[in-house]
């Protein structure tokens, strides 16, 4: 399937292994990525804090660019924060024709118009709802047998439920568990899996921010997870990049590898851990690399 692909900022900045691994995984799943390289930052909720109309207009611009991609079935993102921030803006744009016209007026000088009703799905949602977990499972070449994986969702992709279309029919706040199982792994449930990583307040209250990250990482260790997996690169920054500092704040040893969602999928699809950028993490995913090596060795 062809998608208008929005990678977000951080996957091309401080977590380039996310963007890279998505590019590696997509062809294996028959996803054609048409990158929205003209699109702009979603604002991560921060621009909306400054000026709501500005955030709505900036996102309407990216949506309009996505709608221009010929043959694309939908827009796909790889960032929980983009999903949440963009969906919030889209909710206002779709709810009120007058407001939409007002925003489109601002975009008109660039020949852009946002038409109501864009479908914008995170890679996680696309895997479950468009590709299907049965199809995904049929493509698995290296099942995650014996690998204990703890999901870490990121707030923006699980709340608020109504806005994000989470209901009995679309239990999107449970997709990660289903996905890990479809890839042959073992799901580790722990207290912090749907809590906040603390990143939004890292510059305002660093101690509280890192206490959040450190607590969840510690909970996952206590639950004996081999690694965490997240669809959010901002969570990844607090959970991986900041993990050594978080360990100091919670005063315990932390050694918890954190994978990006496409990296975990890529591992199961048989890609080399190095090609997926696993060596680029601050916390070396030794457990995951050892696991994949042992799987390859036993297969040989």
């Amino acid at each position: 399937m062809k998608v208008a692909y929005w990678p977000g900022c951080v996957s091309r900045g401080f977590t380039p292994e996310l963007h890279g691994s998505m590019a590696k995984v997509a062809p294996l799943l028959d996803i054609e990525l048409v990158e929205l390289d003209r699109g702009n930052c979603c604002g991560a909720g921060v621009i909306a804090e400054h000026n709501q109309e500005l955030a709505d207009t900036l996102n309407a611009r990216t949506f309009a660019l996505a709608q221009q991609v010929e043959g694309a079935e939908l827009m796909m993102n790889i960032c929980s924060t983009c999903q949440g921030a963009q969906t919030e803006c889209q909710e206002r744009l779709d709810a009120n024709a007058q407001y939409r016209a007002h925003v489109n007026e601002t975009l008109s000088s660039d020949g852009l118009t946002y038409e109501k009703g864009l479908t914008n799905k995170n890679f996680l949602w696309l895997l479950v709802e468009e590709i299907g977990l049965d199809t995904l499972a049929s493509k698995v070449r290296r099942p995650l047998t014996n690998l204990k994986v703890g999901p870490f969702y990121g707030c923006y992709i699980v709340r608020p439920r109504n806005r994000l279309g989470i209901d009995d029919e679309h239990p999107r706040d449970h997709y990660m568990e289903r996905l890990i199982e479809a890839l042959g792994g073992t799901v580790i449930e722990y207290a912090g899996m749907r809590k906040c990583c603390g990143f939004p307040i890292i510059t305002m209250n660093k101690d509280a921010s890192l206490k959040q990250a450190g607590t969840h990482l510690g909970d996952a260790m206590d639950a004996e997870a081999d690694c965490l997996v997240t669809p959010c690169p901002l969570c990844h920054l607090n959970l991986d990049l900041q993990q050594p500092l978080a360990a100091k704040v919670v005063a315990r040893k932390l050694e918890m590898p954190v994978l990006h969602l496409p990296q975990l999928v890529g591992l199961a699809l048989g890609l080399d851990p190095k090609d997926l950028g696993l060596s680029r993490h601050v916390v070396k995913p030794t457990s995951v690399i050892d696991w994949s090596t042992s799987v390859v060795a036993s297969a040989a």
């Binding site: 900045g13 380039p16 930052c41 604002g43 921060v46 804090e49 900036l58 975009l107 709340r159 509280a208």
Partner: protein, 363 residues
């Protein structure tokens, strides 16, 4: 956890198992779980279930309740881990989210337990509400007759006036979980009730106070937990974001917590790059919203403390030194288009904000 079931309900009483968290701090004993089987029609409330267990099996179960119709805010508890009003949750709804076929009922979080399902609202919730001066400071001179205010601004504050002080949002607040001193969602929603009221005379003072407090509006982690928890659609986090917008963009309050600087730096960086330049955001949030921000002592101190993480990221190839220094940009014609959006929207004499609570959905 509110009820939206459309399927026909049985009027025949059926059995439900309740697991109640029991704790009496005065007893000196640890908390424990109690299970009781009650019999009620599915449309009856969890509160009625608890009361039946109390009447039939154990009169010592502690539960606070009054109106039984979701307006007094007394019976806030956690049902299957989620905050809810016990009287506003049907048994047949609660059983759906029960993990093992037993409806689990606990006291609310973030507040000390007095007994069983009763928490100390005075020690946390009411103390925080009092912190925000929860009354109107009338503009002077007081008119001889009514204050005349426009409809929209009153509809706007009506959303926060719908709060029944049940504490569900406080129970679930993730910022408060790690920083108990955070003023919190309920009290800050209450603060907006007066900041948004055109009759109030203390807007700037209130906003300055809540911005400068290290545990004020900039201590919210934006996790949406309170939005989900609220049984009355008060949208506390949305109100906190409004407080930030008015404090920063309208009142130009520069706080000591980097809140306003962070927001300004983020917004400016997107105008200048189209994408987030992470390495510039950090020093500017501390040192000020310009390229020179990184030379401010506060930024220097922070950069120094983050140095191990930065060095590690560069060594690991997580980020190239070039990207760390120069960031990444969209093409010039697109950047021009982004800048035009900024000029048009920011150039307006007054900020425009669509509030779906006021205007509703028109299609």
């Amino acid at each position: 956890m509110s009820s939206t079931t459309t399927a026909p309900r049985s009027s025949v009483p059926q059995a439900f198992k309740l697991r109640v968290r029991r704790y009496d701090p005065e007893s000196g004993q640890a908390a424990y779980w109690d299970e009781h089987e009650i019999e009620l029609e599915g449309h009856r409330s969890v509160l009625e279930g608890i009361l039946q267990a109390k009447n039939r099996f154990d009169g010592s179960i502690g539960i606070r309740c009054s109106c039984r119709q979701a307006i007094c805010g007394s019976c806030g508890v956690r049902i299957n881990g989620e905050p809810a009003l016990a009287c506003h949750t049907h048994l047949d709804e609660a059983i759906k989210s029960a993990k093992d076929g037993v409806i689990e009922i606990e006291p609310m979080g973030n507040m000390p337990v007095i007994k069983d399902l009763i928490v100390d609202m005075d020690a946390v919730h009411w103390k925080k509400v009092r912190r925000v001066t929860p009354w109107l400071i009338a503009k002077q001179p007081v008119p001889e007759r009514e204050y005349i205010v426009d409809r929209e601004s009153m509809v706007d504050v009506t959303q926060t006036m719908a709060c029944i002080q049940c504490g569900a949002c406080v129970s679930d607040c993730l910022a408060m979980e790690v920083d108990p001193g955070f003023i919190g969602p309920a009290a800050l929603a209450k603060a907006y009730r007066f900041v948004g009221d055109p009759r109030d005379d203390a807007r700037h003072v209130r906003l300055n106070d809540l911005s400068q407090d290290p545990q004020g509006i900039y201590d919210c982690t934006h996790c949406f937990k309170c939005v989900e928890a609220c049984p009355k659609d008060v949208n506390p986090m949305g109100q906190i974001m409004r407080l930030r917008r008015i404090a920063g963009s309208d009142e130009q309050i520069v706080d000591v917590n980097n809140g306003h600087r962070h927001e300004e730096a983020f917004t400016t960086l997107i105008r200048d790059y189209g994408l987030l330049h992470e390495a510039e955001l950090l020093p500017r949030s501390y040192g000020g919203d310009s390229w020179f921000g990184k030379f401010h002592p506060a930024a220097g101190k922070e950069l120094l403390s983050s140095l191990p993480a930065i060095v590690k990221a560069v060594v690991k190839g997580k980020v190239s030194p070039t990207k760390a220094i120069f960031g990444h940009k969209i093409a010039k014609r697109d950047l021009d288009s982004v800048k035009r959006i900024y000029e048009r929207v920011e150039g307006k004499p007054q900020r425009y904000e669509l509030n779906l609570y006021i205007v509703g959905e028109d299609e």
